[in-house]
Amino acid sequence: MKSTTAQSARPIGEALLNRNRFRLLGLTPDEIIKYFFNGNAVVAIVVLALITIFLFREGAGFFGQNRHNLRIYRLAGLEYVDFIRRQVDDHTALNRALNESRLAQFTKLTAAGQTVEQANAGLVPFDAFATTFGDAVEDVRGVLSDLTEVAMAIKQKEQVNRDRLEQKGMLLGAGKKEEADKITVTPVNFAAETVTLKGAFPAYQEANKQFATKLGVALAAAPVMPDPKLQKQIDAVKTKGQALIAAIPGTERAMQAWKHDEPIPLSRSLTSFLFGRQWLTASFWQDWYGILPLFVGSLLVSLIALAIAVPLGIAAAIYVSEIASAREKNFIKPYIEFISAIPSVVLGFFGVAVLGSALRGLSQLSFMSWFPGFPMSERLNSLTAGCLLALMAVPTIFSLAEDAINNVPKHFKEASYALGANRFQTITRILVPASLSGIISAILLGFGRVIGETMVVLLCAGNRIAIPDFTEGLGAFFQPVHTMTGIIAQEMGEVVNGSIHYRALFMVGIMLFLLSLAINYVAQIIVRRYRISIG
C-alpha cells in the first residue's frame, strides 16, 4: 500500500522510465506488446496458409476423378457414339438456321402488307427445300439413337458394379463378411461390350451413304429466292451442307481408328478443364467440367463493368484533384467512397427489381432498334450485371487514381503552367502521363474487385452456362452468362461432399484465387515502376 502511494506520487516521467520493472509471466510490457502484435500477424498468416492449403487439397483430387470420368467415357463407348452425335448436331444447327431464315422472311413479307396465305405461297419452294434438307439425316439419326442406348447400358453396368463394390466395402467395414461375400462383382468386359457398338459400323456407313446422297440432292435442288438476304442465307447453308458431306469420310476414319482402351493421359484431365467449352453436370450421358464458359462470362461482365467504371472513376478523380473547389471536393469525395458501403446484395436486388427491366424496356423502344443486339431478349444479362459491378468498381478506381494524381510532384504542374500550357493541356499532357502507371494499377485493382464479386452476378447475370455468341458482335454483351464466382455460390450448397462436382467447384475457386493473385501482382509491379519514374 505504501509503495503504491509512493509510486503515484512520483512524477510521470520517472514512472515511465521505470515501467520495465513490471513483469508478467517473465515478460516486460515491451515484450508483451511486441508478442501481441507479432502473434496477431502470425495468426493471420497461419489462417491464410491453412485456407490456401485446404483449397488446393480439396481441388487436387479433381484430376484423378476427372481422368476416371473421361476414361469411362471412352471405355463405355460414349466417345464413339458422340462422333455420330456431332454430325447430327451440325446438321440440326443448319436446319435451325433455315427455320430462322424462313421466320425472318415471313415476318418481313407480312410486314410489307402480304397476307399470311400470300407469304406462305411465296415460300413454298423454300419449304420444300427445308423439308428435304431436314429429312436427309433421318437414317443417321436412327443409328445414333440405337447406339446411344447401347453405350448407356454399358455405362450403367459399370455404375452398378461400382455401387456393388462400395456396398461390399461398407459391409466388410461393418464386419459383416458373410453378406459381403454374397455380393459378386464381375468386372465389365468393355472389349466385348463395345464390339456391339463397332458392329454397327456397316449400318452407319450405309446410313451415311443415304445421308450424303439425300443431302446432295437437296442442296442441288436449292431454290433461288427473290430476296437477296434470304438467297445469301441459302447459299451459306449450301456451302456448309457441302462441308458436312465432305466431312463424312473423316468421321468414318476417326471412328474406325477409335479404340475403347486407348489410355487417357493425366494432362487431358487438366486440359479438358481449362479449355473445355462445356460445363455440364448431373447429366445422364456424360458430365463435362470445362471452365471456359464461366471464365468468358466472368471476363465479359468485368469488361463491361470496367468500360463504364474507368471513364467515370478517372474523370471524377481528375476533377476532384485538379478542378473542384474545396467545397465540391468535400462533398464529392466522401460521396463516391460511400458507394462502396452499399452491400452488394442490395445492388443485386436493385438489379433484379429495377435495372434489368429498365434496360430491357429501353432496348425495346423502336428508335433504339438500330443498335446491334437490341431489343434484348433477357432482362438479366451481362450488361445488367456489368452496370451494377461498375458502380462497385468506381470507388476503388476513383480513390486510387486520385492518390496517383496527387502524388505527381507539384513542380511538374507549375512548370507546365509556366510554359504557358492551359489547364486542359496540363491535365492531358502532364498529369495523366505522369500518373499513368498509378492509374493503370487502379484500373487493375478495380478489375480484381469486380471479377471476385459474387452476389451481383449471381442475381443479375442470367446464369446461362454457355459462351456468348460473339458472331452477333455487340449483341454478345446483352446475352446472359454464368460466372466463376456465381457457379460456386449456386452449386456448392447442394453438391455431394467429395464428389467430382464438388472438387470441380474447388478447382474453379483455385482459378479465381490465382487470377486475383496475378492481378494484384501486376498492379504492384506497375506501381513500383511508377515510383522509380518519379524519382
Binding site: 440440326t92 435451325r96 427455320n99 430462322e100 421466320l103 415476318t107 455401387d163 462400395e166 456396398q167 461398407m170 459391409l171 467395414g173 461393418a174 459383416k176 453378406e179 462445356q278 455440364l280 453436370t281 448431373a282 447429366s283 445422364f284 450421358w285 433484379v352 427491366s357 431478349s377 433477357e378 432482362r379 438479366l380 449471381l458 442470367g462 446464369n463 446461362r464 452456362i465 454457355a466 446472359p480 454464368h482 455460390a489 449456386q490 452449386e491 456448392m492 450448397g493 447442394e494 453438391v495 455431394v496 462436382h501
Partner: protein, 271 residues
Amino acid sequence: MKIIQFLSIPTALVLAVSTASAGKLVIKGSDTLGAKLVPQLAEAYKAKNPDTSFEIAAEGSTTGLTAIIDSTADIGMSSRHAKVIEESAAEAKGAKLTPTIVAYDGLVVIVNVKSPLANLTRRQVEQIFTGDVTDWSALGGAAGKISIYTRNTSSGTYSDWKELAMKKRDYAPSSQKMAGHEQIAAEVGKNPSGIGYVGLAYVKAAGVKMIKIEGLELSDETVRNKSWPYARPTFYYTNGAPAGEAKKFTDFTLSDEGQAIARKVGFVPVK
C-alpha cells in the same frame, strides 16, 4: 433461396450435435418438403402436443437419408427413392430405410400470360427444354426466341425434370439456371417468351399461366392415376417402421388435417 440454405448449414451443424431425445423430433432432408410443408405441419402438431419440440433442417434429400443411416434424425425427408447404395449403407450400419409416401409434388409448365399457347404435348416440352425447338413460332406461338428457365444444376428438381420430361437428355445450353421456384416464376412472369417449370404452389405468381399437357391439367385425379406426367412422390424415411413420436407425427401428416395443410402449400394429397 439456395443462399439462405447455404447460410443455414452452420445452424444445421448445431442441430446435428443435439440428437434425438424424448419429446423432441429431429427432421432433416429435402428442401421440397422442408421449406414450407413440414414446418407448417410441425406448428399445427405442436398446437396439439405442446410438449413436443422440433428441429427441422432442409438441405436436400441426400442429407435426410444420411441422417437416418447415421441415426442423427428421427425422420428423413426425401423427394426421391433411396438409392441402392444408400440402402446398403444403412444395412451395414444396422438400419433399415423405410419410406412412407406423405404427399405428391406436382410440377407444372408455366409460360407468360401474354403467350397465346394453352396446350403442349410431352414431345414438345421435351423439344423445348432440350433446345430442339428454339422459336415459339414452331409451336404455334408468336414468333420469338424461347427463353428457358430451370433450377440450378445441383438441385434434385433439376435432374428429376430431365427424367420426367426430357427422356434423360441434357438441357439446352441456352437454359438459364435460377436459384429457386420463386425466381423461375418471377422471370417467366416478366418475359413474354419465357417458359419454366415450378411446383404447384408457385403458379399464382404474377404474370404466369399454367400450360395443359396433352390436354390435361394437374389435379388430384391426374396425379394419383399417374396420367399427369410431371409428378413425383415425396417421402418420410424412417429407421424401420415409424415408432413413438415419429409415428405420431407421420400419422398426423397423413390425417385429414395434415393433408389439408399439404394441399394449402401446393402439394397433392395422397388420398
